[in-house]
């Protein structure tokens, strides 16, 4: 069975980011998507702390301690970029102005419920940040995650067992073995990587999958 690396997953998700879109990339694997958006597309990246037009990392010695992204890494501003306060930044999310938000996830349910901010382990103090606002706000929510946990348990389920981040919010899931859409009919496979079969992917999924539509 073909399993993509996290870099390859980021590359696959980048293909579905349209030219001209305003995009928020979550912390971790979603941030890598920017590395694979092709140069012929112009994409404007939003950072929740108050930046539109986030550019690449600064050269050593040119870091501005105030100019960081949501993951607290130093960034730069591209020409045409701008700054704003946090309330305005979250108005961009909640108000449906962002075209795409890309987030990681612990679990996704077949109705598009997302669980990505807390587990059921109360030993860890909880932290939510902007995850719930991103989940409800963007016009399309892409999830990028491995298809199963390290222990091989499915992460795509009929119902999430972890605390929810948002209800019915996920549009498309990019995993290491397939691309799956959340549709009113249910989870529809969009792409099977390599020679992966629907049966193989179904066996690793905790909810029923619909076959790809034949065009």
């Amino acid at each position: 069975m073909l399993r993509l690396s996290s870099e390859e997953m980021a590359r696959r998700a980048a293909q579905d980011i349209p030219d001209g879109s305003y995009v928020n990339l979550g912390i971790g694997m979603p941030t890598k998507v920017a590395n694979y958006v092709s140069d012929d597309k112009q994409v404007i990246y939003h950072s929740e702390n108050g930046i539109l037009g986030v550019g690449p990392s600064p050269l050593p010695g040119e870091e501005n301690p105030n100019l960081i992204n949501a993951g607290k890494q130093y960034v730069t501003l591209l020409p045409g970029g701008c700054y704003f306060d946090n309330a305005e930044s979250f108005a961009m999310m909640r108000g449906g102005h962002l075209d795409i938000s890309v987030l990681g996830a612990f679990q996704v349910a077949e109705n598009g419920d997302l669980a990505n901010w807390a587990t059921n382990d109360d030993k860890f103090p909880p932290a939510v940040g902007g995850a719930m606002d991103l989940a409800v706000g963007a016009r399309k929510l892409f999830v990028i995650m491995n298809h199963t946990t390290r222990e091989g348990e499915p992460k795509i389920l009929e119902k999430c067992t972890y605390p929810l981040t948002g209800m019915g919010v996920v549009s498309r899931i990019f995993t290491d073995i397939a691309v799956i859409d959340v549709t009113p009919e249910g989870l529809r496979v969009v792409e099977l990587f390599g020679d992966n079969t629907l049966e193989e992917v179904q066996a690793l999924t905790g909810a029923r999958l619909l076959p790809p539509l034949t065009s």
Binding site: N64, L77, N86, A87, R94, P125, L164
Partner: protein
């Protein structure tokens, strides 16, 4: 004549009492009034409720207030990050209460407190654990949670440039929560890099109007950060 300059960080925060609700600007390492926080720590007011996006890392900023046992409650969206050891320790031992608020709900609760709004309905958090016990409403098929304003006795904020009336301009993403906190506190104290005479700030570029600011301080930096 209006002149909101205060000579030292210490004087600027001297009237913060035990039990005060204190907003502190900043996001990660960006736009934090580190000098004012250090002055507050030395001042030693206890049982503080701190309202801020993060809970500090290493020994710096809010982490130093937690370390010294000055904090009773944190209202925060992302208290846990790499190096937030003092928050984790105080949380684990049960000496600090945490009110976890989604980030956009936190900034909007602060903004509406400053704007005189009595509450707002947000889709954020609907159907999740963070909406438990809160009023909800379904409008046109979409669920919303009623969130209430969040004000404070004091706001400690960071800007780049002030004039003597307290008009403020920020540096890049250092703006973050600072403008809303300036509106939402009874007393707003701004730590700045420089204070200009009246008329030297371009009025088209002022981000926080002076009406929201009570004190401005620009002492030489003592608390140098990495």
């Amino acid at each position: 004549m209006i002149d909101k300059r205060v000579a030292t960080y210490r004087e600027a925060i001297a009237d913060i009492p035990d039990g005060a609700d204190v907003m502190i600007g900043g996001f990660g390492s960006s736009g934090i009034p580190l000098e004012l926080i250090e002055a507050l720590r030395q001042h030693g007011a206890k049982d503080l409720a701190i309202i801020s996006n993060n809970a500090g890392v290493a020994e710096e900023g809010i982490a130093s207030l937690l370390r010294d046992g000055l904090v009773r409650k944190i209202v925060c969206s992302f208290p846990r990050s790499a190096g937030s050891v003092w928050f984790e320790k105080r949380f684990e031992e049960g000496s600090v209460e945490l009110e976890l608020v989604p980030q956009g709900t936190l900034s909007e609760r602060i903004r509406i407190a400053g704007a005189g709004i009595g509450g707002f309905l947000t889709p954020t958090g609907y159907g999740t654990r963070l909406a438990e016990g809160k009023e909800t409403k379904v409008i046109d098929g979409k669920g919303y949670v009623l969130e209430m304003p969040l004000k404070a006795d004091f706001a400690l904020i960071k800007a780049e440039t002030a004039d003597i009336w307290g008009n403020l301009i920020y540096n890049t993403a250092g703006r973050n929560f600072n403008p809303m906190m300036a509106m939402a506190a009874a007393v707003t104290i701004a730590e700045v890099d420089q204070i200009l005479p009246l008329g030297e700030l371009d009025p088209e570029k002022v981000i926080t109007p002076s009406i929201f600011v009570d004190r401005v301080v620009s002492e030489e930096k003592k608390h140098v950060t990495a």
